[in-house]
Symmetry: C2
Subunit: 131 residues, 2 copies
Amino acid sequence: MMIIDSRFENDSIFLADLSLSQLRLMNDGELDWFILIPKREDIIEWSDLGQEDQLLLNQEINMLVNLLKELPEVKKVNVANLGNIVSQFHVHIIGRKFGDRAWPGPIWGTKSSLPLSQERIQFWKNAKISK
Amino acid sequence: MMIIDSRFENDSIFLADLSLSQLRLMNDGELDWFILIPKREDIIEWSDLGQEDQLLLNQEINMLVNLLKELPEVKKVNVANLGNIVSQFHVHIIGRKFGDRAWPGPIWGTKSSLPLSQERIQFWKNAKISK
């Protein structure tokens, strides 16, 4: 069983187990912000994932980008692996809105003034997430 | 011929033409900061690239991540598509250093106090970049 860094547990909630990754939703009441954490050990950098896993990762990214693109308020989807703070490999997929709290700058390091609502959690639990 | 957004021309220099992407080096004298711009038209979001192109993109990302990982001063490689300002699809691959000007926060939106040196341009022109 893969161990998820406890900082993910504090900042986000579990949404689904996908083929490669655990999908989590950040505790952000202003933006739809997903995290994909591949269920593999000792992955730090993008290139540490094997080719098959990269194919799966791209499929999971595509699915989430497409879900976010359907939301009329989403102006651009940001896809990123930073990992400067939490090294366990993870990819952010974030639906950025025109005029959001960091627009057009990067969102990392800023905090939402609103917590994630139960309604939004339910919205994503009911979404068509391919596993 | 693909047209490259003029803002890339202002902020970065051409390094190489790869299978999928034009590879450019940001005008940053503090960090090694690559940009991959796929030579395809009308690509805005990650999921706009077809599966074959995503495979090539991942290969190009892997190569650059591996080149940066070899540098002892690089603590973490950041890989990201933001595109909030320049919408033409591009991926940043950045060798972040412990204690760099934004560490451990995101680097986008910050400016280097040093211009890119001719020595560093030559270093990357001489690097083993698989095309």
